[in-house]
Structure formats: C-alpha cells, structure tokens
Amino acid sequence: MTTTPSAARTAGAAMPDGSPRTHYLNATYGLKSWLLTRDHKRIALLYLVSISVFFALGGLMAVLIRMELATPEGDLFQPDIYNRLFTMHGVLMIFFFLIPGIPAVLGNFLIPLMIGARDLAFPRINLLSWYLYSIGGLFTLWALLHGGVDTGWTFYTPLSTNYVNTSVITVGVGIFIAGFSSILTGLNFVVTIHRMRAPGLTWFRLPLFVWGAYATSLIQILGTPVIAIAILLVAAERTLHIGIFDPKLGGDPILFQHLFWFYSHPAVYIMILPSMGVVSELVATFSRKPIFGYKFVAFASIGIAVLGFFVWGHHMFVSGQSIYAGVIFSVLSMLVAVPSAIKVFNWTATLYKGSISWDTPMLYALGFIGLFTIGGLTGVMLATLGIDAHVHDTYFIIAHFHYIMVGGAIMGYLGGLHFWWPKITGRMYPLFWSKLSAIVIFIGFNVTFFPQFILGYLGMPRRYHSYPPEFQVLNVMSSAGATVLGLGYLMPLVYFIWSIRYGPKAPSNPWGATGLEWQTTSPPPVENFLTQPIVTAPPYTYPAPKRAPEVTRGV
C-alpha cells in the first residue's frame, strides 16, 4: 500500500439521494466531452457502445451461417463466401467483442469504484486504449467491406501466407492495433490495483471481481505481444516471402501454430476470467452469504492465468507435434481444470443454505455456472489424446468453446450488466422482461449448441457449408435455437435503452450489496466518492444492508 491518506478525507462515503445533483453523466455535455473524456466511467460507456456494434455484426454473420446450415446442400452461399463468413464471425466476436468486452466495459467502470480510487492510474492511456481499439476495429471493418478474410480466425500458415488472396494483412493490422489496446488496458489495471487501493483495502479485502480482472490483465500483458509478433511475421511472409513459415525455404508452418496458441489459449481465459469474477460477486450478493473459500477463489484466478500459459499444445495434438509433447500438454490441460473446478465448487457451496433471491443477475449467474461446467468438462474430454484425435476439427469443438465463451462468458457479462446497470445509469430496468431474457437466452443457447456436441461426435466437420442429409435434423434444431437465442439477445438491448429514459430512478444500493461501488450514489459523481472511503472489513459481510424496495416491488 502506498496510498497516503490525505488529511481532509474522512471515513464513510455514502451520500443521501438528493434529486438534482451533478454526476458523471450530466457534469458536461456534448460529443467532445465524451470523445476527449478521461473519466474511466465514460470510457467504459464508449467501450460498451463500440463492442455492442461489433457484437451485432458478429451476430449477423452467425445468423447467415446458421441459415446456410439449415439445409444439407450448400445452397445459400458459395464455399468461399461461407469461409469468409465464419472467419469474420470469429474475428469480430473474439478480438473485437469478447477480449475487450468485460475487461474494458465492466473493468473500466468498476475497478476504481471497487477499490475506492478516483480513476485508473493512467486516465489518458485509458482513453488511448479506446482509440486504438476503435482504429483496429475500423481496419477490420474496412477489410470486411473489401471482402473480408477466409482463413479462419486462426490464420494458419501456409494457407494465410501463401495461398489465399483476401485481406489478411488489413485484418492482421486491425488485430495488431487492437492488441495494443488490450495490453494498455491490462497494464492500467495492474498498476491501478497495485497502487491506487483505498486506505485499509488490503489484497485479501479486494472483491473477487478485482482478482479476476487482475489475473486477466496478467494474461493481456504477457500473451498479447506474442500474437502481435506472430501477425507481424505473417504479414512479412506475405509481402516479403522471408520464409519463416515456408517449408520451401526451410521454415516451419507449425511454428506459427505455436506462437498463435501461446497467446490464443491464454486468451480464452481473458474471455472467461472476468465473467468468473462477476459470478463470484453475484453468487455472494444473491445468496446473502460470504463467498465460500474466498482465498481459494482468488488464487484460482491467478492459478488459471499462470497454468493457462502451459497448455497451448492441446490445440496441436494432431498437427504432428511429438507424442511426448502431446502427453505433457494433455496432462497440463487437465490440471487447468482444477482451479476452474475449485471455483464451481465454491460457488455451489456458497449457494448451499443461502437465502437465494431470483433476481435477473442471479438467473444469469446460475446459467453461467451450469453452462460453464458443461464447457469445462468437455474441455477435459478434449484434453484426452484419444478422444481429441476423433473429434478434432468437428462440431464437438465448436460446441465446447461456445459453451464456455457464449454460455459462460456472455452470460457472465450480461449478468454483470444487469447487476451494475442501476449504478452505471442510475435507472432500473423492467424486472419481468429481464428475467424472461435470461430464461430465453438459456434455452435458446442450449437448443443451439447441444445438438452440435452430437453432430461433432457423429463426425460432422467444422468449416464446411454443406453436409450429408442425415445430419439435417440436428442442424435444423441448432438453427431454430439460434433464432431464439438471437431474440433473447435483442431483449436486453431494447429494455436497457428504454430504461435510460423511462426506467425508475435507482437508489445507491438497490441489491443491498456490500462493496464500495454501492456506497456512492447512482450514477456516481465525477470523482467517484465525495470523501475518501476507508476500508475496515473483508468483502461480502453478508447478510448486510437491506435491499431497496424498488427491487422487491418490481417495475
């Protein structure tokens, strides 16, 4: 702790809800006040808008993919158009939605509030991150308008270097630039968490969301530079034919896979760790119990981040790596499942005998736990060499990672948005519709992706636009489920926007949660707290404050 408590600050930070007052949303007006803001809360909202655009675009591609797959014949798109569709779907969803997603939106908004600071350590760099992300996004959109890329989001060589003639370099540049945004965000979070904590806020008093964000930042800092250099090498290979990945010149295409997965496996934890952090907050708040085994959950985040760097070879079991490497990577991959399982057990133990309330965020959190468990267990199956040789590159893989990234990460993200929306906007959203959305998304998700496990096990390969007729029934189920899922995602979009104008005013602490962010007003003032909070207790001292009547009464 290097925070020097300054003289004039007193303990306690709550402020009575007076009606007309300035907060971060109405302190200044105009486009310029947003585009040049250095307030972490406003930057979070800039991210929220931009990642939503990319989510919608990626979702559109998904709709087109599922339309094509509703029939066995490849009748809607030419094969090379189909290749571009699934590639751009993956690129947009992974690099421009999920990776920046929760860290940049919820992390930006919450970390300073949760640790009792006035802002992140480097507000200007924070704004720079958003601009880098946007510039990277514009490159990618520009490439999209010029036909996109058709290599798969994995950009495997020699396909990406010697064969295709789509916009590999433009998209590569886009991802490269967005990568620096990710690095700077991670750096900002790490420094902030180390140096800006409020007096009394020791490491083991940090909310688990902050631990999750910290672990995520470590991966962003250590992993992202490696994919940056890998992309640079692909671009150099394409333009200058330098031979690093070209067997004709003595290079090795497998080296690219190593560099790519050295980042991209840990990157899957960039997508899931923040959601795990959200779920820890939600489970404690809505069971009104301290989280079971706080330290285990905290260290499990760090454990996942560290172990995640040693398992990348499980993506290359059938790429011709040595059998010994395969065995080692197999064992190490199963080890990562241990900290993941610790978290699931601890959430379950927290629920046990808790006084559970079925609010919208909690529904999303429970959905997360179920879907993540399925995704994680199938991951362990895939880490088994014999099974992977059978299902590698089939729909089983697709189902596995969608259960984690869509079922898990996005459920957690939406749960978090619903939980902190009253804090972010100062408004409540309709309770009935939001609970319905959680249920619709859960059902739609399972109908979409469960059949894909079966399809993959039966041998349907990924990345083809046509398939044998006997697979049609399951594919139609999947496409139908996708329609439900799409509708489910539209619902929050509608009622969130509605709530900004028409939603009832939210009190400071609608859920009766502990945590510093709930001790300031909704929405928070520009400087977050009117007086410097001082922390004297561990997190999750439930059962604590009373829930606000607005929540129980409903809207």
């Binding site: 290097t2 003289a7 480097f122 140096r195 250590l222 530079p225 330098i242 031979g243 010149l249």
Partner: protein, 219 residues
C-alpha cells in the same frame, strides 16, 4: 493538502493521485510492466531464432561470418555510452539540473543517431552483397538455401530494434526540450525516468542481439 472530493491542486500532481510518491510509484510500475510486454514481443523472434539456429547450425554460423564484427562492436560501444549519458541525464532531472539534463539528452540522441547511421551502412552492404531475402538473394556456402532464414531473422530482429531506437530518439528529443524548460522537478521527473528505462531496455535488447547474430562460433 486535499480539498473536499477533488483531491488537491499541487503543481504536477494529477487529480486522481494522493501524493507525489503514489504518482511516481505508479509511473515506474507502469513502465516496468510495459517493458515486460516488450520482452515477450521480441520473445517471439528469439524463439524463432532458437528453433532455426538449432535446425541449421552450420549455415547460421557461415551467414553470421558475413556480418562486420568491427561495425557491430563499434555500435555496441556507442549504445553502452548512450546508456551512460542517459543515466546521468535522469540524475540531472532528478536533482533539478534541467540544463545539464538537456545537454546530456542531446548527447544521448546523437549517440543513438550514430548507431542508426552505422546500421544503415551495414544494411547497405547487405544489399550490395545480395544478402537481402527475396528474389535476388544469393549466398555461397554449405546449405545455402537456408541462409535466407538467417538473414530474414537478422533483418527482422535488427529492424524491429532500430524501430525502437527511432521511437526512443523521438522521445529523447521531446524530454530534452522539456528538461531545458525546467519541466522536471525532484517531485515529478517521471516521464524522464520512464524514457530512460525505455532507452536502457532498447540497449539491452542489442546486447542480446549482438552475440546471437554477429558472434556465432567465434570464441
């Protein structure tokens, strides 16, 4: 020290920090973290170098011998000297001697430029000898086809290093101007210190590149 809610109005202390010490600690930690990412950035190339050198040791040695050890050594000395002037400049900024710091920074900048000019001559030589990967590449010796890999790595690694040097020179120029106008005080010379760390880091990368590229098998 602090006015209600809005921190303070101390010169050179950003509104969201409580003290100069907190601000400096944050800046330093941020810079070190950034340098860790740089290590991993270069790490990808070092990994590629390791793989191919172990696959083709003979031709890597032969290719390495075409580089000018004199120019390489000269440049190494130049960079080490520039690290010294940089360290002294940071000390100057820290003790409030702005003019001295500025002069030392200009010296650093000149040394850095000398390095780049010499590097330019070396690149030119490679062009003349057809050692630049591509259509006109030509190399005589054992296992010649794989020589191109060595030179690809040579240009990528030294090129990326040179790019970092150029960024560094721009930064040094900027802090030199700021130092001359007395912007750095004992309380806040964080940007100067950060630039110094960056400069030392870029030097350090060269200290690894030099033996790996120039000195293979010369012991």
């Amino acid at each position: 020290m602090a006015s209600e809610g809005h921190g303070h109005d101390l010169p050179g202390l950003a509104h969201h920090f409580d003290s100069y010490a907190q601000q400096r600690d944050s800046a330093t930690l941020g810079m070190w973290t950034f340098l860790v990412t740089e290590i991993l950035f270069f790490g990808g190339l070092f990994a590629a170098y390791g793989v191919y050198r172990s696959l083709y040791p003979e031709v890597f040695r032969a290719s390495s011998h075409t580089l000018s050890i004199q120019l390489g050594t000269f440049n190494t000395v130049v960079l080490i000297a520039s690290s010294l002037t940089m360290a002294l400049a940071v000390r100057g900024g820290q003790t409030g001697k702005g003019k001295l710091a500025a002069a030392l920074l200009v010296l650093t900048l000149i040394l850095g430029s000398v390095f780049l000019v010499v590097k330019g001559f070396e690149y030119h030589e490679k062009f003349v000898e057809h050692h630049v990967p591509g259509a006109s590449f030509h190399f005589e010796g054992p296992d010649a086809p794989h020589a191109q890999l060595f030179f690809s790595l040579y240009f990528l690694m030294t090129g990326l290093h040179a790019l970092h040097m150029i960024i560094g020179i721009v930064l040094v120029g900027y802090v030199a101007i700021r130092a001359a106008s007395g912007a750095y005080t004992p309380e806040n010379y964080n940007f100067l210190e950060g630039t110094g760390l960056y400069w030392h880091f870029v030097d350090l990368i060269w200290i690894f590149l030099f033996p790996l590229l120039y000195l293979i098998g010369r012991h």
